[in-house]
Symmetry: C2
Subunit: 201 residues, 2 copies
């Protein structure tokens, strides 16, 4: 086995173990020292596989994004009309967040060092997920052009993320998941209706 | 000056200085030791004025909530019809967050120790702010009863918070404030239209 192949294996193993740790203890519970112990390697070996812990965390988060994409694909019963598909996506997002709370939270907890933007490959993963929202929007608001549709998709995502995030966080007092789901449905349905009939974007 | 009066003065002074620190450096930059140095008192004196740092931070956050309430009151030109008032509130929230980013962020960064709910007086401050959203909702959806209206108000707040929060955080790539404001307007207008015409809640 060549050096590159060994490094590749170590990389996969570290991402898998880091993901387990984040799922169990949350992102703040992920430490290079513990991870090395878990992987049975020296701390320094982590840095032969990844330039830094940031890169490792991004790899874990990218797996979570792909896991969410598979989760959407598995959930059947998305209605045919576009506003209903938006509601279905939003409810799936809540279900995923409730099922993998710590992996999901890590997507937003991780802050890169000041001035450092996420690498292009990570942005591509993110953008691919937004395209699921853009697709019904394209039917609902065919007049949107250029950057308008991706921007609106991102805004709708942020709105749903806010509801899910503050709802699950219990920041404003606990909301049981079925109640939260009904709220997501109500508000996304209303947004959908408003966007279909509405004027400006 | 009696003991109680001195303690009251120290309390006010500490909240004022802690607020300055949070506004400059963010909540993670607030340390008891630095605060004591800034106030010219012993670290132990902080704990004669407040049971713990959590209580001090809650006092700072409560001031931010009242500051936001004053900010809404100062902003004129809220339209008469209820959906327009919702948009106006949402845009005010964005403007406030952009003007006081670190004080605003502290409202959501602060996590009480596990199992500890915020004290009643703090919840009362929060609930009073939600009533600004409930008021137009009462006109838009008079059929909502019991807990339905406060719950929907909270959900609408969470949606707007999500847009503002992810927009200002630049988590998903930077969005200039005027663009973000137009997005808030579009989505809250759509929600308003959808809620007015819509069915279920």
């Amino acid at each position: 086995m060549g050096t590159e192949e060994r490094r590749e294996r170590l990389r996969d193993e570290l991402v898998r173990l880091a993901e387990e740790t984040v799922a169990e203890r949350g992102l703040p519970g992920l430490k290079a020292r513990d991870l090395a112990a878990r992987a049975g390697c020296a701390v320094g070996a982590i840095y032969t596989a990844f330039p830094d812990m940031d890169a490792l965390i991004l790899a874990v988060n990218a797996r979570t994004l792909r896991r969410f994409e598979a989760f959407i694909a598995r959930r059947e019963g998305a209605p045919g009309e576009p506003a209903g598909r938006l509601v279905h996506l939003a409810v799936s997002y809540l279900a995923f967040a409730a099922e993998h709370p710590l992996l999901w939270r890590a997507l937003f907890q991780h802050r890169l060092a000041e001035e450092k933007a996420p690498p292009d490959w990570y942005m591509v993963e993110q953008v691919r997920l937004f395209s699921y929202i853009e697709e019904p929007l394209a039917e609902m608001r065919p007049e949107l052009k250029g950057r308008e549709r991706p921007l609106l998709a991102r805004t709708l995502f942020s709105a749903v993320h806010g509801i899910v995030s503050l709802g699950l966080d219990e920041k404003l007092g606990a909301v049981p998941e079925p109640v939260l789901r009904a709220q997501v449905e109500t508000v996304v349905e209303a947004m959908g209706r408003g966007l279909m009939r509405g004027g400006r974007s």
